[in-house]
Amino acid sequence: MQVFFEKYYNWLSYAAALSVLLPLLYGLLFLKRGNRLYITLYLYVLTIALIELSGHLTVYLGTDNNLWLSHLYTPIEYFLLTFSYYISLKYRNIRRAIIWSVALFLIFGIMNAFFGEGITQMNSYTKVLESGLLIALALVYFYMTFRNLNKLYLDQDPMFVLSCGILIYFAGTTMAYLMFNRALAISDNMARICLSITYVLNIFFNVVLLVVLKRASRI
């Protein structure tokens, strides 16, 4: 395990950070003729890139703790992903539920940051709640796909691809984020195991975002 941390962990970390360049650069090509969904997803990719850049900058500047970035990033991520569902799902009740969930999630995130886990700790509970809500939204989208049966080729639907990505990414990272603070309290390497899982899934999700942008540009 020590060999992995010494040799491959840094490479994995850089690969995960740089993988966001794939959807970021591809997205630039069709940004001018992009629809609302495309622009929302591109904003999401841009947010990921900015947060990655900020993380590396804080390390470069030598700050002790940059976990506050996660407290900033999670609500923005949740808002942008749910907004893409808001655009795609035309049902009034679902849209109303999405608006309410964003408001409640924002309150929960702020409460957790200032009165819960604290800004210097990973926002595990917020991340778990976000995962649960986004997985629920992905399942709602699948249910609507069954109900409407208006899509013959599911792999051509950007929201279906995004829902698959969300399902895998958030199902995979939930436990890693939940255990992160406890693992970090024991040792840095324990926390790195959690982060390694997250990095692998980050690379996967960035590739999914590339595919989603490709599909969304054709709508």
Partner: protein, 172 residues
């Protein structure tokens, strides 16, 4: 390391569940679409059958009316015309008035016979026009059939058979 045991156990399980769910969604959606297509095909086939039955009934009715007009009314009129010829032939020394009336009646009878023939031809089903009269019950009499088959062998085309039969029907 024990603290990470739940992470190492639950994460793969959740990933497998997520993948399984996606595979299920894709396969189930495909099955639903196939089922939907089958339902559409059945509905289309049912509609086609109803349409075909309606058209068949309509054509049968047209054929019956045309046959009645052609065979019964037409032959009755021809008989009337024949009787008129016999009647006028038996009257000797007819006056100009009688001659004029006779000519007028013959002319009117010819017009009526022509109209009956035209109406009966017009009533023939569209399918018969397209497929040719030879495919229909309107076959030539037995004495003409050998000539008809010789012609069809010689011409070898549906069009010639059709035009021949049309000509025969007009002359009969």
């Amino acid at each position: 390391m024990n603290i990470l045991l739940p992470l190492l156990i639950i994460t793969p399980i959740m990933l497998l569940l997520a993948l399984g769910l996606i595979v299920f969604v894709v396969l189930y959606q495909k099955r639903l679409i196939q089922h939907q297509e089958q339902v559409w095909q059945l509905e289309a086939s049912k509609q086609y059958q109803v349409l075909e039955a309606t058209m068949q009934a309509q054509e049968e009715e047209r054929r019956r009316v045309a046959r009645d007009l052609h065979d019964e009314v037409g032959s009755m009129l021809s008989l009337v015309k024949l009787n008129l010829y016999q009647l006028t032939g038996s009257i000797k020394g007819e006056s100009d008035e009688v001659c004029g009336a006779e000519a007028n009646i013959k002319k009117l009878l010819d017009e009526v016979i022509g109209s009956v023939r035209r109406i009966s031809h017009d009533l023939m089903p569209v399918v018969l026009d397209k497929m040719g009269h030879c495919g229909a019950p309107c076959l030539p009499p037995p004495e003409l059939r050998c000539f008809w088959s010789a012609t069809t062998r010689a011409e070898g085309s549906l069009q010639s058979r059709s035009s021949f039969c049309t000509a025969w029907c007009r002359n009969c």
